[in-house]
């Protein structure tokens, strides 16, 4: 078992799930044997329709796709998979490859393009690298989500601090009432949040910050009262 593959199997609680879309029985069974020995969970589909059905029913980390199938152009299946499940990595295997076809495949997001015949080592390396990239992409996505959550928390804290200050600092209250969003420049707030505070948008504040105390609501009520006049 190579290093790349070790990483995939040990870092994930379940083995990566691979779908092999190949109508040549001997190639499909050979791939199933090699990839199963590497520790992957492998499913086979010998038509494009069966591959699409498999994707509707299960989640796959990787599609190993032959391009010449009895029913649908393999590239069309790849395109649909990359459109609907962009997190799925794809390796194309074909006996009829050209540089132009390989470039077209790479442009739609295929990770690798391997001409047939290929060796066990070639496919093992390609699958290991594709799945490693898949793990890296997932990690990045999780980190990005965490950053967004952190940003939300910071903004929530800043909105509360600004509203608390309206009750404690008369000059700030006056500045905010007269000059609007500009008075909030020292706070880490999005333009949307600044506009919500300055205009007394209680709906936005409740949805993004939560319920406010009476002290925090004083400015909002006064702002809305002024708006009504």
């Amino acid at each position: 078992m190579n290093t790349t593959q070790d990483l995939n199997v040990t870092e994930q609680s379940v083995p990566p799930h691979v779908l092999v879309m190949e109508d040549d029985f001997s190639v499909a069974k050979g791939l199933e044997m090699v990839l199963t020995e590497e520790g992957y969970a492998v499913d086979l589909a010998d038509t494009g329709e069966l591959a699409l059905k498999a994707f509707r029913e299960k989640r796959f980390d990787l599609l190993v796709a032959d391009l010449r199938l009895p029913d649908i152009d393999g590239m069309e299946i790849v395109r649909q998979v990359k459109e609907n499940k962009p997190e799925t990595e794809v390796i194309v295997i074909t006996g009829y490859g050209t540089p132009s076809l390989a470039v077209d495949a790479m442009k739609i997001g295929v990770h690798d393009f391997i001409p047939k015949p290929f060796t066990d080592d070639q496919i093992k390396t390609a699958v290991g690298e594709a799945l490693k990239e898949s793990v890296q992409k997932s990690t990045k996505a999780v980190l990005k989500k965490a950053e967004t959550e952190e940003e939300k928390l910071i903004q929530k804290r800043e909105v509360i601090q600004a509203l608390n200050r309206t009750a404690e600092d008369a000059d700030f209250w006056h500045d905010l009432m007269e000059n609007g969003s500009i008075a909030l420049n020292e706070y880490q707030l999005s333009n949307e949040a600044k506009a919500a505070i300055a205009s007394g948008d209680l709906k936005w504040i409740n949805e993004n910050v939560g319920e406010l105390t009476q002290k925090q609501l004083m400015f909002i009520y006064k702002r809305l009262e002024r708006e009504a006049w």
Binding site: G97, T98, P99, S100, A102, V103, M106, K107, D112, F113, P115
Partner: protein, 126 residues
């Protein structure tokens, strides 16, 4: 949408001239360099939208130039050109971040389309 500035790096002067002629007619400002070293210097000093890069240069392997450009100036679109077109080379170039791959000889339309697409794709990322 079309690229403003294009750099052609190819040791065959006739290819550089042809690319310059075709792309200039499309409104691009085109410069040409005949070696990898001169090409890298031009990229470092200039502000190119798209680079047309031959893989077989007298001084530096084109694939190395591609790696450097994608590392130092990832917003520049790189179209790889080669007369020794092979699947493995095309795949490697695309993995390294090339926006397109042209096997020589290519037509005027293939060149224009590749340059326009490279510009659109890289402009989206800028």
């Amino acid at each position: 949408m079309k690229p403003e500035r294009v750099l052609v790096i190819d040791d065959e002067e006739v290819i550089c001239d042809a690319c310059q002629l075709i792309l200039s007619e499309q409104g691009c400002r085109v410069e040409q360099r005949l070696t990898g070293t001169a090409g890298l210097m031009a990229i470092e000093q200039g502000d190119f939208d798209v680079v047309l890069l031959d893989l077989k240069l007298p001084d530096i392997d084109g694939m190395e130039i591609l790696k450097i450009v994608k590392k130092e100036k990832p917003g520049v679109g790189v179209i790889v050109m080669t007369g020794f077109s092979r699947i493995a080379i095309a795949v490697e170039a695309m993995k390294l971040g090339a926006t397109d791959y042209l096997g020589k000889p290519f037509t005027d339309d293939e060149l224009i389309t590749a340059v326009k697409n490279a510009y659109v794709n890289t402009a989206d990322r800028k």
